[in-house]
């Protein structure tokens, strides 16, 4: 029996248990919950962990309970997704000093917590610059003569303004450097949490912006964005996705996605734990090392996954490839340069949240 228990102990040592508490969108949000889960799946597939458990609190008040449940039940790493979990994770991580925690999109300053944040404003800036450059190329099918782009926000709240400000600053940057006069239309779906779940309204907003001359619309609106993609198809214009790669949702109409690679970040944390070099503190992901990515060629990860699982056909994948190829290479170059400048700190990208603190 001694042998057995030591075997078990060994197994336990080898096989990490990871638990994750999702944000309110839940599994299947085609956004950062899914992205986070994809990171864990990858870790599982690669044998870093034996399995993982995810919990879906429907109310913020349940988050704490969920986190504690995972910590109590011997999970080695407990991940909280979303800024709403800050208070709960702060509390629970103090209660369980021997458990490792990670939080996505917020900072918790505890010795056992890794805080994963993203420079969404940088990605949004790049997206804005890209849209502003593209909207002038009316030789491309789907691009019109007007110099107008759009932004669709979900709920009218500070976090989403961070995306908006990054985006509009990117547009301004192009206007300044290229001498263009691109205007950005901005609209929000509403002021209650419903605003992240109202694709019908999202579609109307998108149609209104397309009708007003926009040909590229970027969104940060959760499920509401589904309506944008629909509108893009109808009007034969373009959309830009957010968070988790959304290119595959409406093949050929979503120019790109401002990807927050939560999957990579989550994977990184798991790996560090596996390699015994888990460190607490802030890990801020930006355009460098592709923590944030705006991919302008080839297939992005979710698209690849969708192709593998048969959710999209090979033809549809070709459409996406064609669309990416049609992006003029000089624009790709410019975007690359801007990206480098942002990374180098040569461009000062305003952060709505910091500005307003």
């Amino acid at each position: 029996t001694n042998e057995q228990s030591s075997e078990q102990a060994q197994q336990q040592e080898e096989e990490l248990k990871v638990g994750i508490v999702l944000s309110s969108g839940g599994k299947g949000d085609k956004s950062f919950n899914d992205s986070a889960l994809r990171g864990l799946s990858r870790a599982e597939e690669e044998g870093l962990i034996s399995n993982y458990k995810y919990l879906e609190p429907k109310q913020v008040s349940v988050v704490e309970k969920n986190l504690r449940f995972l910590a109590e039940n011997g999970y080695d790493l407990v991940i909280g997704v979303g800024f709403m979990q800050k208070d709960a994770l702060t509390k629970v991580s103090k209660e369980f000093p021997d458990t490792n925690f990670a939080i996505v999109d917020e900072v918790v300053e505890n010795d056992n917590v890794a805080s994963i944040t993203f420079k969404e404003h940088h990605g949004s800036f790049l997206t804005g610059a890209f849209a502003a450059l593209m909207t002038n190329r009316d030789e491309i099918e789907g691009i019109n003569e007007q110099q107008v782009v759009g932004f669709l926000g979900g709920m009218d709240m500070p976090l989403i303004h961070k995306f908006e400000l990054g985006y509009t600053s990117g547009v301004e940057y192009i206007n300044k450097t290229e001498g263009t006069n691109v205007k950005a239309k901005v609209a929000y779906a509403g002021s209650s949490p419903d605003a992240f779940n109202d694709p019908a309204k999202g579609k109307e907003i998108a149609l209104a912006q397309y009708n007003a001359g926009a040909d590229i619309i970027y969104h940060a609106s959760g499920g509401t964005g589904g309506g944008l993609f629909n509108a893009a198809q109808k009007e034969n214009h373009f959309a830009i996705g957010v968070d988790s790669d959304q290119d595959y949702i409406a093949p050929g109409f979503i120019l790109t996605t401002m990807q927050k690679r939560v999957d990579n970040a989550v994977y990184d944390v798991v790996q560090s734990l596996k390699n015994d070099n888990f460190t607490a503190g802030v890990k801020e992901y930006g355009l460098e090392k592709e923590g944030i990515k705006v991919s302008l060629s080839g297939l992005a990860p979710m698209t690849k996954a969708a192709l593998e699982s048969g959710d999209i056909t090979e033809e549809q994948a070709d459409k996406i490839r064609e669309m990416k190829e049609m992006i003029p290479s000089e624009i790709k170059d410019k975007i690359k340069k801007i990206r480098d400048k942002i990374i180098a700190g040569e461009i000062d990208v305003p952060n709505y949240l910091e500005q307003n603190n």
Partner: protein, 299 residues
Amino acid sequence: MEILEVLKQIFNLQTFSSTLRMATPLILAALGGIFSERSGVINIALEGMMLAGAFVAVVVSHFTASPWLGVVGAVIFSGLFALIHAVVSIEYHAKQVVSGVALNMLAAGGTVFLLNILFNTSGTSPSVNSLSYWGNFKPTVYLALVAVGITYYILFYTSFGLRVRSVGEHPHAADSLGISVKKIRYICVVTSGMLAGLGGAHMSVGTLDVFREGMTAGRGFIALAAMIFGKWHPVGALGASLLFGFFQALQIRLQGVLPIPGEFIQMIPYIFTVIALAGVIGKATPPQASGKPFKKGER
């Protein structure tokens, strides 16, 4: 400048089409509400019935690849869903508002639960085939307009309509003439569910191609408001739905133009309804028997 922009947005074909599109689910659900309430059954479960319809349309479209079958499925299923309301409030004399609240909860919980079971996700369903355009609009938009005409005709020019109105105003009178109050109410409540379900299908496989948790976002309640604002008359409800749709269309277009926060513009339909009820547009009198269970032999 601002005024000019506002006027430009008001007198604009795009705004008009947008109004019509956004009014469509409201019109359909409001017509449903009219059937139900004209027969004497309050239906605050329009929201839930729409949601159920939206969900079923996507499920059927997913498994059959036919959005039209989805629409049919939504109509049938929402009718069955409404049957719960009918049984509970007609057969068992439940407080109709309570039954309505329960159905709304059931629809909200049930759709997400089934989303989990069927598609293993809790937020958005997979994309499905959606209805194709007929000209500028989805077919459901025309259906809604036709439904207004049909409802109007049925209510005011057919013997069935006469019975519906009598059952909603004075069920005992109808009963004393051998009209089955229960039967009429069952038919009307189920019809109400079918219309609301069509409204939901319009959203999920008409306007869009997915189901999203809670995607009706309160439209069932706005439809209720439209029904009252339109004084329980199909044409009135059409007008009210268009008005509310217009405000939404305008609100979208005037964001950032007017110095009024969006939150306040969003309140407009609700405030209008309260004003309407306060009698500014003339008294809005519901059918006399609405909300009252019919008990045979009782006066």
